[in-house]
Assembly symmetry: C2
Homo-oligomer: 334 residues x 2
C-alpha cells in the first residue's frame, strides 16, 4: 500500500524558518468527497507568500495553524475525480496541494495543465502565479512608459526573471537587484541592462543611482528592506512603486518593521506606492497567459528552475528560497 508522508506545521518561526518548523508524518491517503479530486503530486511549488501563512500575524489569507498540513501550489495527476470537470489521468494545477505525495484538492481550485506547448511545471512558474504576478505588477500596476527605467528586486527570482524580460520586450529599461554576481550575469543575459548586487554593495543608494542614471521610474519591489530605501531615494517625480513582496522581512514577519519612512519623499516626488495581490487580476489571467505563452513560443522568454527532489526536500527548498539561495524558480519534483 502507498504511503503518504505529509509535512505538518510544528511551530511558528519567529525569525527565519528552519526545516525544524515542520514535521514529516505518515498520513493515510485522503478520500475525495463530492467536488474534490484525489491527485498524485508530481511537482510542488514553494513561494515567498507562504512565509506570511506560517505567521500568527494578520495576512491577506488565513494562515496555517499548528498541526495543519502545509499546502501550496502544485501539479499532479488526477487519480479519482468526484467532479464532472476532471477525469482520472488529467494533469491539473492547484494552489491547494498538500506537501504530500497524495492530496485531495477542491475541483474548483484546479486548472487543467496543457503540456503540449511548454513543460508541465511551467504552470508553476512563467505560465502560472509568478509569471502572472510579473505581468500584472509591471504592466497594470507599475504602468511604465517606453524608455522608462524599471528597477526590479529579487530580479533573478521567479517573478523578477519574468518581469525583467517583459520590461525588455516592451521597450522599458530594466535594471536588476539580485543577491549574487552569478545571478546578475544571468539577468543581463535575460535583457536587464545592468544590475546591483545587494549583498556586496557597500552603498546601495549610490549603486542604484549609478545603475539608474536617469533615476527610477517604476520599482517592482519583491523584497522591501534596504533595497526599498535605495529605490525610494532614487525615485523620479511621478515614480511608481509596486509592493509585490517583502521577502527581506522573512526573518521577522511578526515584528514591527522599523526603518526609514519616505512620506516627505512620496510627497515631493508625487510617488504612487501600491500594494499588489495577484488574485485581484483573475479575470484577465487568460489574456496574460496567452501573452506569456506567445513570448515563450517565440523564444523571447528564458526561464530557469531550481529543482529539489522528493517529499523530504520540501521545507529545505522553501527555506533556501526565502534566503535567496535558489537560482531560478524553486520547485520540488516528486
Amino acid at each position: 500500500m502507498a504511503t503518504n508522508p505529509s509535512w505538518l506545521l510544528q511551530s511558528y518561526p519567529s525569525a527565519m524558518p528552519t526545516a525544524e518548523n515542520w514535521a514529516l508524518e505518515e498520513r493515510p491517503i485522503p478520500e475525495a468527497a463530492d467536488g474534490e479530486l484525489l491527485v498524485k503530486t508530481l511537482w510542488l511549488s514553494v513561494d515567498p507568500y507562504m512565509r506570511g501563512r506560517i505567521s500568527p500575524a494578520k495576512n491577506y489569507a488565513a494562515g496555517f495553524k499548528l498541526g495543519d498540513l502545509m499546502r501550496g501550489g502544485g501539479i499532479g495527476e488526477v487519480m479519482i475525480s468526484e467532479s464532472p470537470d476532471f477525469k482520472p489521468g488529467d494533469i491539473v494545477m492547484s494552489d491547494h496541494f498538500g506537501w504530500q505525495p497524495f492530496s485531495v484538492v477542491p475541483a474548483a481550485s484546479a486548472e487543467p495543465v496543457t503540456t503540449t506547448d511548454a513543460p508541465m511545471q511551467s504552470a508553476l512558474s512563467y505560465l502560472g502565479m509568478p509569471g502572472l504576478t510579473a505581468y500584472f505588477a509591471l504592466l497594470k500596476t507599475g504602468r511604465p512608459r517606453v524608455g522608462e527605467t524599471v528597477l526590479i528586486s529579487a530580479a533573478a527570482g521567479a517573478v523578477g526573471q519574468i518581469a525583467g524580460q517583459i520590461a525588455r520586450i516592451k521597450g522599458f529599461d530594466p535594471v536588476a537587484v539580485a543577491g549574487s554576481d552569478e545571478k546578475l550575469e544571468w539577468c543581463k543575459e535575460l535583457g536587464y541592462r545592468t544590475g546591483v548586487n545587494h549583498r556586496t554593495s557597500a552603498d546601495l543608494v549610490a549603486d542604484v543611482a549609478t545603475a539608474c542614471p536617469s533615476g527610477v521610474d517604476v520599482f517592482v519591489d519583491n523584497t522591501a528592506g534596504p533595497i526599498h530605501d535605495a529605490a525610494m531615494l532614487n525615485l523620479n517625480t511621478f515614480g511608481r512603486v509596486v509592493v509585490v513582496g517583502t521577502i527581506a522581512l522573512a526573518d521577522r514577519f511578526d515584528q514591527p518593521d522599523i526603518g526609514l519612512r519616505h512620506l516627505r519623499r512620496t510627497l515631493i516626488t508625487r510617488a504612487r506606492i501600491e500594494g499588489f495581490l495577484l488574485d485581484d487580476h483573475e479575470r484577465e489571467y487568460e489574456t496574460a497567459i496567452a501573452a506569456l505563452l506567445s513570448w515563450y513560443k517565440q523564444g523571447l522568454l528564458q526561464t530557469r528552475e531550481d529543482v529539489a527532489e522528493g517529499i523530504e526536500a520540501v521545507p529545505h527548498a522553501f527555506v533556501r528560497m526565502l534566503k535567496g539561495e535558489n537560482f531560478g524558480k524553486q520547485l520540488v519534483k516528486l
Copy 2:
C-alpha cells in the same frame, strides 16, 4: 516716506522654527521692472509647505537661502503696474509676496481677486491654495465612493476644514483628527461625523478604530507621524492614502524619519499611497474654484480664519500654525 520692514531668513531651523530664525530689516520699497507689479500688501498667508522651504534638504521647490527675503502667498493692491494685464488699484493674489508691506511680484504669478462674492482673503483659504488642495486631494487623488469613510488629519486646518466639508457634501463619511476638543467640536459643526483628539489620545490606533467602525477607506494625510500609523493600521482593503502634508515632521525636517514602515500592510490591503502637489492640477483650478464658490454661496461651506495683525507678527503666526496653535486658516493682516 513709507518704510518697508522685511523679514529675511537668518538661520535654518534644525528643529521647530522660532521667530529668531528671521530678522526684520528695513528695506527700500522695490521697483517694478518690466512684467512686474509693485503691490501694497493687505494679507499674507502662512502655510505648512513653507517649512520645507527653510530647510537645506531637497524639496519640490527651491528653498530660501540665508539672508533671502521670505516670500509666500499674499493679497495686495497694485500700486505700479509694468504689465498690460493689471492697473493700479487692482486687487491681486500671488504666491510671490514678500513678508513686507511693499512687494514686487511677477505679473505672471498674479491673479485678480474678485471681492463681490466673498471676502478678499478667501482667495488665500477656501477659494485659493488650501481649498484647491482639499478639493483635488480628496476628489481626484483619494477618489472616495459615496458612503466610504474618509479620515482627515489636521481636520480643522486650512485644508482639512474644506476637505471635511467637501466629503460631507459629496456623501462620504468624514472623520476628523485634530489637536484639541474645541477644534473637534467645530469639526462636527462642519459635518465631520466624529473625531479623534491626537494630543489627548492614549491609543491613537484604537481611537481611530473606534471612530471608524468600518475602517478607513481614504486617508487625507496632512500630518504624517503617529497619525499616519494609526490610519495605516486601520486601512481597509483597497484603501487610499493621499500624502498632502507632513506637518508632524515640522520639528525635524532635515533628519531621517525613522518609524514603523507599512509595506506588509500596503501589500495585504493593496493600498494606494500617493503624494500630492497642488501644482499638478493647475489646468483644473477654474472648475474647482467654481465648485467651491458655488458651495460657499449656497451656504454649504463654513470657514474659520485665525488672523494675526501687522508685519511684525508674521514669523510668530507661521510658527504657531506649524505647532497647531492656530484655529482656522492662519492669516496675517497688514
